[in-house]
């Protein structure tokens, strides 16, 4: 299962402003379903923002990041037209990625 990511990258002066919205349940493993059965933990553990091949941000996440996570970061050295990608992996081996060009 590869989750899609909505991503936007905009050049503002010297800065590139990246905003990404991922689709993911971010289950803590502490909740129960309607039948009272525990819902297994399922959350994004690693996220990276890449400008070309270069990681401009990488993060480790716990289950306390909200469902359908939002991430906003800023970096320098990008130009309009450059590719920016966001990639993630979760604790069940799932992955997601999205890419856009800087505008």
């Amino acid at each position: 299962m590869a989750g899609r990511i909505k991503i936007r990258a905009e050049k503002k002066g010297e800065l590139i402003e990246v905003k990404a919205l991922m689709r993911h349940p971010m289950e803590t493993g502490m909740r129960k379903d309607q039948a009272g059965e525990p819902i297994p933990a399922h959350f994004i553990t690693e996220v990276a923002v890449l400008h070309g091949d270069q990681a401009v941000m990488q993060a480790h996440w716990g289950a306390a990041v909200s469902a359908n996570p939002f991430l906003g970061v800023r970096f320098q050295g990008g130009e309009a037209g450059d590719v920016v990608r966001v990639v993630w992996t979760d604790n069940q081996g799932g992955t997601g990625e999205g890419e856009t060009t800087i505008r």
């Binding site: 129960k32 990276a48 993060a59 996440w61 909200s66 991430l71 990625e97």
Partner: protein, 139 residues
């Protein structure tokens, strides 16, 4: 679309291992100890959280440090005092990336949120109280 295996060059995470002990900590002090020394308060860390969160499941936060306020920042961690595991996220900041992070976290109940910043190997922090009307970890 590229396959994700190709999209994830090994070096992306090779250099930085996940701080498992800090994520597994069940109390704030324990999580801070796992991150390193006790952080000192620093006014240069701008940490924005809502005063009141009606829905603890989705609490927007922002951490920003102006260039010059603290040198050589390599890491930003976000902790939620009252959560079962206080460490919510840990961001590695390469050179050239501004210290500016926005995300949303779950907050189980009213308490302090902490932004901990590593600058030249030392830890600094800012804290903010967020009051929660409806808890973020229920169910």
């Amino acid at each position: 679309m590229l396959s994700t295996a190709a999209a994830l060059p090994g070096r992306v995470w090779a250099a930085v291992t996940r701080p498992e002990a800090a994520f597994g900590a069940t109390a704030l002090d324990e999580a801070l100890a796992a991150l390193g020394d006790t952080p000192q308060e620093h006014e240069g860390i701008q940490f924005m959280t809502p005063d009141i969160a009606e829905n603890g499941a989705v609490v927007p936060i922002r951490v920003e440090v102006d260039a010059g306020a603290l040198p050589n920042i390599t890491k930003v961690s976000v902790l939620v005092e009252m959560n079962p595991n206080p460490l919510a996220a840990s961001f590695d900041i390469p050179r050239g990336t501004d210290v500016y992070i926005e995300t949303r976290v779950k907050v189980a109940q009213t308490g302090n949120l902490y932004a901990v910043v590593e600058s030249d190997g030392q830890l600094f922090m800012a804290s903010r109280e967020t009051k929660v009307t409806l808890g973020g970890c229920g169910g």
